[in-house]
């Protein structure tokens, strides 16, 4: 399945900045960064549970928030991109 993850982490304190970096890192292990705090990940249900647990252990629920949107397996028609920073298609041909 394909999920979209967006987060808001309060960076007023040094520990908040640290949380922000750690959240980004966790997301990067599972998917690609499509915008500054928006990630798209192709994961199976087990991996999603792993990722969710990892994210929840990092954030501070009083100040930060995470939203996970499930785009399902038929996600291609649910995502549209305009403008700069084209992302790669994880199911398409990967070639550099």
């Amino acid at each position: 399945m394909y999920v979209l993850i967006a987060y808001d982490v309060s960076t007023k304190t040094p520990s908040g900045q640290r949380r922000l970096r750690r959240v980004a890192k966790a997301c990067l292990d599972y998917g690609q960064r499509v915008q500054n705090s928006v990630f798209e990940c192709k994961v199976d249900p087990a991996q999603l549970v792993d990722l969710k647990t990892r994210l929840l252990s990092i954030i501070n629920v009083d100040t930060d928030s995470i939203r996970i949107y499930n785009l399902g397996s038929n996600w291609q028609r649910r995502v549209e991109h305009h403008g700069a920073k084209e992302s790669y298609d994880v199911d398409g041909t990967l070639m550099v």
Binding site: K25, L28, D29, Y30, G31, Q32, C41, K42, V43, D44, Q47, Y88, V90, D91, G92, T93, L94, M95, V96
Partner: protein
């Protein structure tokens, strides 16, 4: 059940592949070019002279079951990185035992060869059905090839020893490749082919075939590795140091339906033309870089096609076929199956 995942092709000269978290990061001239989580991949194939990978990445790939192999730009296999030998030692021992016994080799190899010939013949028949009526000459060649191949399927199944089986295979292949260019539509003049030539390929079709076989080889080899079989110990192909004989065995049944069909499609759809090749002074014909990329992309696309596996009766993707067949081979060695059900294309 193994899922079909993506293969990453690296054709960029000077690329450096490194591990970044749980992902692979491809860097070039100090800049990151692409970053993909490893769990989305099942293979990384590099086709460049100047391409390197960090030890940390090799370790991560070995652990995540991602096959990492290096080839030269023309597709010749150079090296692959693996972790410690994994899998079931008992299974491998059984594989060696059977490979030592001529009659067991024959039992497996005859099915491989028969499937190879049958699949080649299916290609010919498909060409005959789809566009055989366009010219009388072509129809005759195709029909003759198809008729010549038919009895060879049977004789492969009843061959008395592996050597005569190899003979049957050779004859069938020679016959098939003579009829090969008749399967092209509308551009026979551009692409002439007189049998198979390799190292070097002497005409464009042979160059394309060689590249397609290399891609197939990469997949067959990693399929065997991931099932715990030893890709070097074959039943049809003799052992030779460094030669992945079992992978070559497994390839036989897929050559026609995966590689040959890909080549035919690319040419018949005019995705690749005469201008995509360059001729060396030595007589070797090489594919230009842009065309090679087209082949990789087409291969990847082909692998995502969904089909119904005739023996398992399960919906699967073309890319998983080598894995499924390697599993069936392992099941045969374990004694769960009586004979090897080779893959026959519809």
């Amino acid at each position: 059940m193994r899922r079909h995942l993506n293969t990453l092709f690296v054709t960029l000269e000077g690329a450096y592949l490194k591990k970044d978290g749980a992902a692979i990061d491809i860097r070039h001239e100090g800049k990151s070019r692409l970053r993909v989580p490893l769990h989305n991949l099942d293979g990384i194939a590099c086709f460049a002279w100047d391409c390197s990978a960090s030890a940390a990445l090799m370790a991560a790939c070995a652990e995540a079951n991602v096959s990492l192999s290096f080839h030269n730009p023309n597709g010749k296999f150079l090296a692959a990185s693996n972790g410690f030998t994994t899998g079931n030692v008992l299974l491998r021992r059984e594989q060696y035992r059977r490979a030592d016994r001529e009659e067991d080799c024959l039992a497996i190899a005859s099915h491989l060869v028969a499937a190879k010939i049958a699949n080649s013949r299916t290609n010919i028949q498909r060409a005959l059905r789809d566009h055989g009526t366009k010219s009388i000459d072509r129809m005759d060649t195709l029909r003759m090839t198809s008729d010549a191949l038919y009895p060879k399927i049977r004789s492969a199944l009843v061959a008395e020893d592996v050597d005569s089986l190899r003979g049957i295979e050779g004859e069938a292949a020679a016959c098939y490749f003579l009829g090969f260019s008749s399967m092209l539509t509308g551009c026979e003049g551009e692409f002439a082919m007189k049998g198979r030539s390799r190292r070097p390929a002497r005409d464009p079709i042979n160059a394309l075939l060689s590249l397609a076989y290399t891609l197939l080889m990469h997949d067959c080899r990693s399929a065997l590795e991931s099932c715990g079989l030893d890709p070097q110990c074959g039943f049809l192909h003799k052992d030779r140091p460094g030669r992945p004989s079992l992978a070559l065995d497994l390839m036989e049944e897929f050559r026609a339906c995966l590689a040959d069909r890909l080549v035919l499609t690319l040419i018949n759809r005019k995705q690749i033309g005469r201008g995509d090749f360059q001729k060396e002074e030595s007589g070797a014909v090489l594919l230009k870089e842009a065309a090679r990329k087209k082949v990789y992309a087409a291969w990847q696309e082909r692998k995502q096609t969904e089909i119904l596996h005739p023996f398992l009766n399960e919906k699967t993707t073309v890319g998983l076929l080598p894995h499924l067949q390697a599993r069936l081979l392992a099941r045969l060695l374990r004694g769960d199956l009586d004979g090897y059900p080779a893959y026959l294309q519809k």
